[in-house]
């Protein structure tokens, strides 16, 4: 019994550190018209890292992706204002506070709120970055954990090393359309 209790005592802190339960944010999206739900654990990130391709952009991005442990993005878009309850963001804030994350930015402009959190680690490293962006018709939560360098945050905030997904998606749409056109011509 004593052994069981000591084992439980040892595992409880580990479970507590395991991570934030993003399902608690589902309430935010009940009235949403569009939502983005991205959950990438370290295995998926490794898998993705292997398919980043080659070239300067990919070479710059690979070390950053390899240092990540998890990437979680939740975006909820609404038709009208007041379709979500800001209090539903509280579980995440509480988790960040308990995990010794530092809120480095809190910016409010009208109904728009932005919060940026960083988790400091020894040797000028960062355990992750979290962003809460709550606007009138859109809520976005970004939670990135890993073992990051200070300059990785610059990489994340700038264009440095991160391929423009919009360009890539547009390119894909164009190729899809041209493929369709070709097929129609053939028919």
């Amino acid at each position: 019994m004593k052994k069981m209790l000591s084992l439980l005592a040892l595992t409880l802190p580990l479970v507590a550190q395991e991570g934030f339960d993003f399902k608690t944010l589902d309430k935010l999206g009940v009235n949403s018209t569009n939502k983005t739900d991205i959950t990438l654990n370290s295995d998926m990130l490794k898998l993705a890292s292997g398919f980043l391709g080659s070239g300067a952009e990919a070479d710059s991005l690979k070390p950053l992706v390899e240092s990540l442990k998890g990437v979680y993005v939740r975006t909820f878009e609404f038709d009208k204002e007041g379709q979500y309850n800001e209090a539903d963001l509280e579980p995440l804030r509480t988790y960040l506070r308990q995990g010794q994350w530092n809120r480095i930015v809190e910016s409010r402009e009208g109904k728009a709120l932005s919060e940026i959190y960083l988790q400091p680690l020894p040797n000028n490293r960062l355990g992750g970055v979290a962003i809460i962006s709550a606007e009138a018709k859109e809520v976005t939560i970004v939670y990135i954990s890993g073992n990051l360098k200070q300059e990785d945050i610059q990489k994340l905030s700038g264009t440095m090393g991160i391929p423009d997904i919009r360009k890539q998606l547009d390119r894909k749409k164009t190729t899809d359309k041209s493929d369709k056109g070709k097929k129609e011509d053939e028919e």
Partner: protein
């Protein structure tokens, strides 16, 4: 010695075998030689048949399974890559928006 005894003695007398006796016996034996008994198992009970069947089955099953596995893995990786790029794009956009918001509010405050 009476006649009866004489008769028995002549009947039991050792006669030499005819000179071609041994050759005749050998010839007869050769004629009637029984072929060695070969046990013929049905095809489906032969170990070699089983081995070949197993080999063919593996050769038929493994490559498509391996290809299917590789294709699924590749599809998962491409999906993960797409999601990663979207996540990074969202992160960048939100960080930039926050930066711009701070700059605006700071300017207004000044």
């Amino acid at each position: 010695m009476n006649d009866f005894e004489q008769e028995i003695r002549s009947a039991l007398r050792r006669d030499p075998a005819p000179p071609d006796f041994a050759a005749k016996v050998l010839a007869r034996v050769a004629e009637q030689e029984i072929p060695a008994k070969v046990i013929r198992l049905p095809v489906w009970r032969r170990p070699a048949a089983w081995a070949i069947a197993a080999g063919l089955s593996i050769a038929a099953i493994v490559p498509p399974v391996a290809i299917e596995y590789r294709q699924r893995r590749e599809a998962r990786a491409l999906e993960a890559r797409r999601e990663l790029l979207i996540a990074l794009e969202v992160t960048r956009t939100k960080l930039q928006q926050t930066r711009e918001r701070i700059q605006r509010t700071t300017r207004l405050a000044l």
